[in-house]
Subunit: 319 residues, 2 copies
């Protein structure tokens, strides 16, 4: 009988990534996207990649292929913008069972392409192969022009304003509604905006470069949840972040959705990810398109809401 | 009963790619790698990606995880070098079942990293997710310094010398030996080099940039087979290519392997892919590390061997 080998599910995603980074160390790794310099001065670009597996990261009965493609583009381009860079290109890797409708594959490409059209990027390459499950691999690339620093996680300083540029909690609310009602068409019409926010987050391109031009320090996107994502800035920068509760409080739509599914909308705000809203820090006023949602204070990685430790709940633990 | 939807296996890989390119057109798409320009003069980089699925593109009972990672790096970096660029970075996307040994994932990263070490590149990012089948997505990036043109498929001209920089047919011979004997350890020791050539092609980094510096026109790599890959140059350039049979004739090891498995080693030379040997064209003498294997003549996409149409066999048809 062979000796038991430790499996990836036993150690979990973070330990797998840590083990990979141990055998393949790189100083460029660990932010929203990697920054690559060229031998030409001030010519830097950023790259990031995501793997999406059918049934795990998207559902073909909830999303059209176009929506799956659009969301895949948004989540990667948000990582590009979170460095202060301008999206320029996408690569599409696709593994699919032979009986996958051609229209599904073409629809995914159409969704990626449509999203590229909103930010002047294009699909520049890819690979299509057979596989057991529909798996979409998207790599996004962006340009970081000029000498200003990229907006890395480690540049928040005490006294900075914490800024955000879009909805917070809407994607998690949309997911909860889909799980409760079973399908987009079954969700009451008044929540269509929240469902849409989950299926294709609304991302306003150009705000990452605007934040960089305005002198922002750190920038990331709300992919894992407000507390987790701000916590990464706080930990990397060696500071604490105090979120202004009133600035992120659930709006009327989130509260009504909370009532409809029997959930506390604060959970969606504090721990719901996938909004891909840009979150960051700046010494001074929020740049155009951003609003203030808190302050950076002295500390060591803590994130507080109105000065208090966020309450622990079922869905999320310490970060 | 729902109307039948055309599936991707019905139309085949080429039609799927054509359909994707129709909805997402890009002039940068269609070569070994895409060339991206920056707003900074002479700052260009190239990107390429591959999806590899366990059981389809690699076998865990034939290859160690390190070998799987190394081959994934080679096949992507060969596409970077085939543009005349210098490999600089890799991104690793990985979907894996929860019961995958951690050592398998780490071994793949170790193999990628080891290969990066031979060309001064590094793994700069990635994504690890759950999935039904172990699927590896590798994106490679390279820098194209200076004003010289990238080595695209469409730059062969009548009168050019056809050049190659490594083995041709060895990977296909290794695969045939593995299929015949069932496992690397079961293949007679005299063929260890051919098995190795299939599991981890030996790639000499730097020859792509050398060919560009020497003024080569087109460059590609032997990924799909000599006739197919040279055919792509011939078709894109609107020329014909005449291969010198003596320059690519099977060597003693290939002939002995042919005897051992009952195959014609010429099939491996002309139609075997995955050697990732650089193939190209230049007006003049072969650059350092390359040898002459033929001539570019007037024509329209044909590839001939010693002036004759290549004989048709089971494994490959027209291209």
């Amino acid at each position: 009988m062979p000796a038991h080998q430790t499996t990836i599910s036993e150690v979990g995603e973070h330990a797998v990534i840590a083990a990979i980074r141990e055998v393949a160390p790189s100083a460029r790794n660990g932010d929203d996207a990697a920054v690559l310099s060229m031998t030409t001065p001030n010519a830097r670009y950023v790259v990031t990649t995501d793997m999406l597996v059918a049934g795990r990261h998207f559902r073909l009965d909830w999303s059209s292929p176009e929506e799956i493609g659009a969301k895949a583009a948004v989540q990667n381009f948000a990582d590009v913008e979170a460095m202060g860079a301008r999206p320029t290109a996408l690569l599409l890797g696709l593994a699919a069972p032979g009986d996958t409708p051609l229209e599904t594959v073409v629809g995914i490409a159409r969704g990626l392409h449509a999203q590229c059209g909103t930010c002047a990027a294009e699909i520049v390459g890819g690979d299509v192969v057979g596989g057991e499950a529909l798996t979409v691999s998207v790599t996004a690339i962006g340009e970081l022009g000029g000498p200003a620093k990229p907006l890395t996680l480690d540049r928040a300083r005490p006294g900075d304003t914490v800024i955000a540029a879009g909805v917070i909690g809407a994607s998690a609310a949309g997911l909860a509604l889909l799980e409760r009602f079973g399908a987009p068409a079954a969700v009451p019409a008044e929540f269509a905006g929240l469902v849409r926010a989950h299926l294709v987050p609304d991302f306003a391109y150009g705000r990452g470069p605007v934040a960089r031009a305005a002198g922002a320090g750190s920038l990331t996107d709300n992919s894992d949840g407000l507390l987790v994502d701000l916590g990464q800035i706080a930990a990397a920068s060696g500071v604490a972040i105090d979120v202004d509760g009133a600035a992120v409080a659930p709006d009327a739509a989130l509260r009504r959705a909370g009532d409809a599914v029997g959930a506390d909308p604060w959970d969606w705000v504090l721990t719901g990810g996938e909004d891909h809203t840009l979150l960051g820090t700046i010494n001074g006023e929020p740049p155009t398109g951003f609003r203030a949602i808190g302050r950076v204070v002295r500390g060591d990685g803590q994130v507080r809401v109105d000065g208090a430790e966020p309450w622990l709940r079922g869905g999320w633990v310490s970060f």
